[in-house]
Symmetry: C2
Subunit: 393 residues, 2 copies
Amino acid sequence: MDDHSSKHRLVDIHTHMYPPEYVDILSSRTTIPLVRTFPSSPDPRLILLESEIPSLERALADPDAPLPGRPLTKHFTSLPAKLAFMARHGIDTSVLSLANPWLDFLPATEEAARTARRINDSFEAMCAAHPGRLFFFGTLPLTAPPPAILESVAHLAALPHCRGVVLGTGGLAGGGMDDPALLPVLRALADAGLPVFLHPHYGLPNAVFGPRSASGEYGHVLPLALGFPMETTVAVARMFLAGVFDAVPRLEMILAHSGGTLPFLAGRLESCVAHDAALVGKNHAGAGAEKGRRRRRTVWEVLREQIYLDAVIYSEVGLKAAAEASGGAERLMFGTDHPFFPPVGEGADAEGEWESVRLNAEAVNKALGDGSEQAAMVMGGNAVRVLRLYDDA
Amino acid sequence: MDDHSSKHRLVDIHTHMYPPEYVDILSSRTTIPLVRTFPSSPDPRLILLESEIPSLERALADPDAPLPGRPLTKHFTSLPAKLAFMARHGIDTSVLSLANPWLDFLPATEEAARTARRINDSFEAMCAAHPGRLFFFGTLPLTAPPPAILESVAHLAALPHCRGVVLGTGGLAGGGMDDPALLPVLRALADAGLPVFLHPHYGLPNAVFGPRSASGEYGHVLPLALGFPMETTVAVARMFLAGVFDAVPRLEMILAHSGGTLPFLAGRLESCVAHDAALVGKNHAGAGAEKGRRRRRTVWEVLREQIYLDAVIYSEVGLKAAAEASGGAERLMFGTDHPFFPPVGEGADAEGEWESVRLNAEAVNKALGDGSEQAAMVMGGNAVRVLRLYDDA
């Protein structure tokens, strides 16, 4: 790392961990998300998705049925495994985040806030033990009473290695990111200079993917490949229509998976707003309308003023669209999505190079030019600047 | 038109009509889709979407409530209005299609096939009355008994102006485009040289868009801007995973709205397939697996070998991604989506230039170069070639 100037550091902003405190919570649960052990599996199994419930039920009823979910390997839980993964892929710095579904499922009590503090302190300790190599996006106890959520924001703002928060799309009690009750939380985050890393978890209802997906014939492809990105897109479109970006103009959002589908659909979204008789004539769509005089900002303007995208899109085509939609490569930041999408199949070696990482790095270099300044910014320089990772940045 | 060579004709492949026979059917229905008249509205109202049911119910209960759906203007039903729209926008040739939801809602009887024949004959007569200016994508009676569906394919193949069929994503009785029972229909279409124009209608379940969309605060933006494209993407991804493209290698698909989100998500879809332990090791994902020896084709290969995209994406960013994903501008074809998305708001003139048309034409010219050969191909040359519109092509 010594030979890397801060501009040319390789930074991974999309990389998850489940610290031991969190695994204990999942292991004690009886509904998803949960962790279960099976006699035929060396690792416990992590079951996260609604689409995995049928295979969980089959496996509980029949010891010969295929195992549900994914193995909870050390890649999910071990800090040395994370550091080794980083070293193998030349990653100088990782901005860790708790993986989905965070603390969304906790009962609506003060206890949720104490759990969040325990987990955030655990992330802070991991980062402090590896100075300059690790930062993190904190976790909010969104089921706790609102004052406790705001206290969590203040707690995170005071932790030296916290650089934002990771949020799902559920908002408070499932009200979504366009729920007016969430605005005070978003304002507190904006005031604290903590960007929101928006990440999907709930996907789309299983019925959308049809019976052959439900029976397992298509693996988990459809919920992950299509449900996740659409969930993110819907969440941010709802924020746009509700006027959240106008109501909290200093709010900064980092969208997982290059914005879901937003770069591709921004034109259609903008056109649908401009052609909807129920919306045209309002200065702002939705909640922003009462603000009055200013003209409505377009989807494109919001993309280029308050939104950053990670570069987890697995293709040159997608990466180019993401860069162009967000006004240039200066709003894109490399990520790996580790520990998800490990190598699979015959001869797969989770301790070797990960194809999923290579695909995303290659997309950046192909789309922006191998060795170009723009590619270097996406691979790390932007994260250093946007997330203020180093004093010398 | 005389001064346009077939290569430089302006062709609109995404343009809908409801002939009078179809409006009669909608007017007689009591559930969506339906047409209703209201004392306060000069035009009947067309109510198509699940998301429009609450406003329909409010309007039926309260004469002062906002009107549901959209006005069923002459743009939806009148051939002279279509021809005037074409003339105003310099469109030489239109490939008409019945708008959603086609005949998906008809009872499962032989009668559905007779209805389809009546409507297809009506389209053929319209086209025959304006030689060289009009062609059409036919409609299949997908609720009819399978032999009657195959007879419909044969009937369409014999109509001189039919150039394919428009299909929703429901398949037979809602089984989807990946239903093995649909394969004989797809094979018959491929054998007859009739491409499938795949078009969304069902969108996503309303719950996905949240309470403020359901209450009407966001107009119809979310179902149309996001639900429609995701529906198309899911349908074609299900076909891919089921091995339909391998099972019917001569099948040609034209995807509405530039493939929904497929160009942007193709990389993620391909990566999810390649990283799914349940799929890796099969030569083909899903139903194609039994075919054995050949390696699995990637999403990218299928996009470039069996899929065409319309250019209805309303942005330069999206258009570029669509062109690149499908291997170049030769697989893209201009469309307007007329009569949907007319001008709205103060001073709007449905008899003037339509912004929605201008946005799509501008996207082609910006992305591919104003006056370039590539832009000319997308604006018409490709449709002339792919759909064999003229003998001199």
